[in-house]
Amino acid sequence: MNNNPNNIPGIGERRPFSLRFFFMRWEWILVVLVIIVIIINSNISPYFFKVTNLFDMTFNFMELGIVVLIMTFVIIIGQIDLSVGSNMALSSVVMGISYQTGLNIWIAMLLGLATGTLGGFFNGIIITRVKIHSIMVTLATYSLFRGIAYVLLEDRVVTGFPPKFLYIGQGYIGNSPVPVELVIFVVLAILFGLILHKSTFGRYMYAIGNNELASRYSGVPVDRITVTIYTGSGFMSALAGVLFTSRISVTRPNIAESFLFEVITIVLLGGVSIYGGEGSIIGVVLSLFLIGMTRRGLTLVNTPSETMSVVIGCILIIAILIPKVLRRIIRE
């Protein structure tokens, strides 16, 4: 068991580099799985493994990826945000309505982003000030945010956005096959990776996730970090909502309904512990591509979306079970 303290690296101390530990990381399993999916998909369709297809494929899961990045932070500090999909819908609808009333599209976009950020901030404040568990608060706002979107837009849709706005979600960088959305995601992923793995803020997040009470006593500003992350979650959801609207060039209150579930699946499959305090951005990005490509493969063989959700639900369960089983085997 864990009686021997010499095996456990202390705080601030790194585990000595060893090849065995390096290759036992969860990320390698994901790499192998990604390769397997690429091979299977290439066998299903000869067009899969072409540069243009590989780039175009990313259109389908970049918004998902943007929310996944922030959800990683939320889960690492031991919380959860169930309101992300609803927040996306609300921000997108606010943007759509502002544009419809004649505002400049960029101002409308800023209004949308501000709405989402405010929603996230609201979640954070209630969780930290009233001290209610995040499941309850975000379950309430999950229905509240989408509810407000329905109140605002009812069963109408907003469309007819100008081409310069649609460019962010549909366009490519210059003449290259690289989508703008992919670039936005890569920049954000690098930024989030740096924050998580290279900054004090990131170390604080792991500390909170491992032991909130101890972090509080050690002077970690737990509440401030929690509010910051939830505000960030609101902003990132809003950003995803804006990009989604730009990509499908329409907004309505029921967009992104199954989003939450896929985001959580990707984050957990990426090796982030649901109990907090564990996880990496690389794992989550790999997991994003794994799920994205699996979906692409299922689409290639004409799988209906309902069957797809059953498959992804099973993946979610397996993603949590595998580390548990592995840990048990290693211990024995």
């Binding site: 509240l144 069963d155 639900g313």
Partner: protein
């Protein structure tokens, strides 16, 4: 000395009224009824009250299951999908075999619910997956499976025998079947939770899982049983739902899981486990039923429903936390 005694007595009255969630709820519901009656002339009559009860009966049945799960510090987000799947399964079977006895149809629904609930229970108790994640997964899987078995099609009224549709429309001893079912289910679970050993163990486990383990309560068993029972109740509710609306749809009751959580929170089920009562949950569901009914009568646009629902949960949770914290200050310290 005398002063302190009087003070203590006053505190205890205060404690009785605010401490008993059921009494506070009854008072609140009475106020609600008066206010709504002033706004709408159609509200205050016996027929409307009967409709409110009928409309909230399915919610009441599922909320009792949700309550047991929440007592163990869990949450079951798969209830609506379980309802839809059992309803669809029974709907399909009945549409192909018109001769099936209604009682058998109900039992089949409960059986399907039992299987689905047991799977969720297995994930939570044996595989030790946190309830919120396990039930988000089963919520999606069961909903997807409902589409798969039905091929996305409906089972509509013309495909169901009258005997089946009669399940939710008939009466027993002059009481509509739906309300009768709620009464029976409530009595069973009131007795189960209050007087049966396993029922008491559910509370013990919820208030302090570690202590429960030390006194020898089968923790895994309890954790499994609550999800299984929740599944059975959802199965029952599924049959009632399909019979009442005379149609089985793949998207039946989507979003219903939030309402059950709301009914529980309003009814005084603590989010931190260990507390909650059948009468409280019944009153919580009734309150939601009254609000929904009133919104229709006052002609509030249906698009407001979701937002109001979210707002109610938020207010209930915040008020609940603040009131109980005030209490912790007023009452002498004991426990955490």
């Amino acid at each position: 000395m005398e002063n302190t005694v009087i003070k203590d007595q006053r505190k205890s009255i205060f404690k009785i009224i605010l401490g008993r969630r059921e009494i506070a709820l009854v008072v609140f519901i009475a106020i609600l009824i008066v206010v709504i009656s002033l706004r709408s002339p159609y509200f205050f009559n016996l027929n409307n009250f009967r409709d409110i009860l009928l409309d909230s009966s399915i919610l009441m049945i599922i909320a009792i299951g949700q309550m047991m799960v929440m007592i163990t510090r869990g949450i079951d987000l798969s209830v609506a999908s379980t309802l839809a799947f059992s309803g669809m399964a029974v709907g399909l079977i009945v549409s192909h075999n018109w001769g099936i006895h209604p009682i058998l149809a109900i039992l089949m629904g409960m059986g399907v619910g039992l299987v689905l609930g047991s799977f969720t229970g297995f994930l939570v108790s044996k595989a030790k997956i946190p309830p919120i994640i396990a039930t988000i997964a089963t919520m999606t899987i069961y909903r997807g499976a409902t589409y798969m078995i039905s091929g996305g099609a409906w089972v509509d009224a013309s495909e169901m025998p009258d005997s089946f549709k009669h399940i939710s429309r008939g009466t027993i001893l002059g009481i509509p079947n739906l309300i009768f079912t709620v009464i029976v289910v409530s009595l069973i679970f009131y007795y189960f939770l209050g007087h049966i050993r396993t029922g008491r163990e559910i509370y013990a486990f919820g208030s302090n899982p570690d202590a429960a383990r030390f006194v020898g309560i089968g923790v895994e068993k309890i954790n499994f049983i609550v999800y299984m029972l929740s599944g059975v109740l959802c199965g029952l509710a599924g049959v009632l739902w399909v019979s009442r609306y005379a149609s089985a749809q793949s998207n039946s009751a989507s979003g219903f899981e939030l309402l059950t959580v709301a009914a529980c929170v309003i009814g005084g089920v603590s989010m931190f486990g260990g507390s909650g009562s059948v009468p409280g949950v019944l009153l919580g569901s009734l309150m939601l039923g009254i609000v929904t009914n009133a919104l229709n009568l006052i002609r509030v646009s249906p698009f407001w429903k979701l937002a109001i629902q979210g707002l109610i949960i938020l207010i209930a949770v915040v008020a609940d936390t603040i009131i109980s914290r005030r209490f912790a200050k007023v009452l002498p310290k004991g426990g955490s």
